[in-house]
Subunit: 369 residues, 2 copies
């Protein structure tokens, strides 16, 4: 299986690009937003609903699946696709971000990371080799290397050591990775330091792999700092490989990320804010839980053709949310996933038609952060 | 609008009957199980999923909708059908059962019942007249009269007074009911006393209405006591009107109820036990949350063609339930609703083909309570 990225169009005015990434479970039209299915399910949604929202690929979390239900069980089920009944591409992260987020519950060594489960406190060790074994068992189309995502802020020295270790770990991941039907992606780190970002970008992309990600951004820094780091990083990434910005999902960040040369994004934002009663619209966020929508019989967003907007009013969805009814968070989630996948489709179309600057101007005319 | 019940077939061996009840929003093939959508939503399900499960009619609760979002809001939305986007028949209960369940929070008088909201403690009064106004505003096809459901156990004297008042309240409901496109059903009470049941059945059915219900059963008494009470009651109910047994939903109770001449049933049981990780099968209940199903890659029930069984394994659904994922309770709920609606379809077919006794024998050979 060759994981080939076809570059179809480069924007003449920005770094944006449109392409197709070929994977074991089908093609991905890029740029793309990937909904997150942490525990082998995109929260509240069925696979059919994800397809109705035009989700092309979803992400799932190695850390969570390793702890529950266990990668061996998923393997026994025939892999993650079969287990969750999703026949389109899947990407698994490496668990790096989750174990580093455990704070006092983890200890970093050259060998790997010792950590305690957030579920039952049991002790575990993740190494580049063990993570590859887990991701091979899960069987996603794209698997992420085990890296360290440095916190923000972090000292120059800390980020330097951490990024260097991430490179050494990537070599070990590549050596341990066993399956040709899975594409291993390396992750560029380097915190908020330009020279460390550039060094990491050069070293990581020097290791031949089917794709590369930019990690360690969207970790609490201002958006302008993230864009600045991207502007140093993406020019050093190969043009003939997909570029994935990890953990980014706000509409304006997707647009800016694409213009800085990113092809793939993931984030829990659309599902999480949906469960809190907030939805994306072209005009910005709308908190449908608010009292002002109690008698509002319009759809969440005028002109939207998602299942929620075609069938239900703000007043009804607000009622469901206030009453704690599951259907409420199902509908806000569907709308938000639909919103981001369709935003990306519109952006892709603008790239293909050479009108990204016009698209950007129109977007910001309406959109309130 | 005429609410006509067509009696299509009477079982030669039991009291079972097959019919069709014509309502404003379409025909209902009886016997029928009605899923409960307490707060204008059958918990976790969309209207499309209910239709996929062959739900013909759903029930919603006047008490809950009156308190939240308020019947005036539902009326403003164009009625309950439009508010929740359900175009098939709806039945609303009268709130009687709920306000009597409030215990210390309510006070019964001849005029009606004073009660405090379980949500915010605010004070309210339900009378036959106010309940008719609320149910007229909600706009269901079938609306239930305001009655008193006596507790179990209750003294003869208490039940007698309560059943007599229920009859007086039914007269007031009939006088107050305004809409010809809604069918008002009276409710027979009488607790566990044969003569009071018979008296109530005679008095309630003497008031000309398009249908009648049996209330005050399935309130904690043994199943045999419920069947006994039904056996005194249904023979006194008119043959040319639908007969509704309120609050009954266990598979064996549905079967016995049908054989005692009941046409309609409702219960929260399938949705509630689904949310607790339990599903109905032809062999009895299956607690899919249990550890024994962790590596069981069969569907919830072999041979079932519901969405959950066509697409997912016990192992996956158990994982979702253990992980607290909404999709888990969506799938168990779908299976349970599908199970009961299809059980009723099978029973109806057995009645039409004059093989109810054979059906009953086959049912109990497999089914473990």
């Amino acid at each position: 299986m060759a994981f080939e990225y076809e570059l179809i169009k480069e924007c003449k005015d920005t770094g944006a690009r449109a392409g197709v990434f070929h994977t074991t479970h089908g093609d991905i039209q890029t740029p793309v937003f990937m909904p997150v299915g942490t525990q082998a399910t995109v929260k509240t949604m069925t696979p059919e609903e994800l397809k109705d929202c035009n989700a092309q690929i979803i992400l799932s979390n190695t850390y969570h699946l390793y702890l529950r239900p266990g990668h061996e069980l998923v393997k026994e089920a025939g892999g993650l696709h079969k287990f969750m009944n999703w026949d389109r591409p899947i990407l698994t992260d490496s668990g790096g971000f989750q174990v580093f987020s455990l704070g006092d519950l983890r200890k970093i060594k050259e060998e790997g990371v010792e950590f305690r489960s957030h579920i039952d406190g049991s002790k575990h060790l993740f190494t580049p080799e063990s993570v590859m074994e887990i991701e091979n068992a899960l069987g996603a189309d794209i698997i992420m290397a085990f890296d360290e995502c440095a916190p923000y802020p972090a000292s120059y020295e800390y980020v330097q050591q951490s990024a260097d270790r991430t490179t050494r770990w990537l070599e070990r991941c590549k050596a341990a990775h066993k399956r040709e039907d899975q594409a291993l992606f390396g992750i560029i780190q380097g915190g908020m330091y330009r020279d460390l970002r550039e060094k990491s970008a050069r070293e990581i992309t020097a290791i031949d792999l089917p794709g590369y990600a930019v990690g360690g951004l969207s970790v609490g820094e201002p958006a302008e700092k993230m864009y600045e780091m991207l502007s140093y990083t993406t020019p050093l990434m190969p043009k003939n490989k997909p570029r994935y910005l990890m953990g980014v999902g706000a509409p304006e960040n997707l647009l800016e990320g694409v213009m800085l040369g990113i092809d793939m994004f993931d984030c829990v934002l659309p599902t999480r804010i949906g469960r809190n009663g907030t939805v994306f619209t072209r005009n910005g966020k709308l908190v449908v839980r608010n009292a002002e929508y109690a008698h509002d019989f319009r759809p969440l967003e005028d002109g939207c053709d998602c299942y929620a907007c075609r069938n239900f009013s703000r007043a009804y969805i607000r009622h469901l949310l206030k009453a704690g009814e599951v259907l409420g968070i199902r509908l806000t989630t569907i709308h938000n996933i639909h919103f981001l996948t369709h935003l990306m489709q519109d952006i892709r179309q603008a790239i293909l038609e050479d009108r990204m600057l016009e698209f950007k101007e129109n977007f910001y005319q309406k959109f309130q952060r």
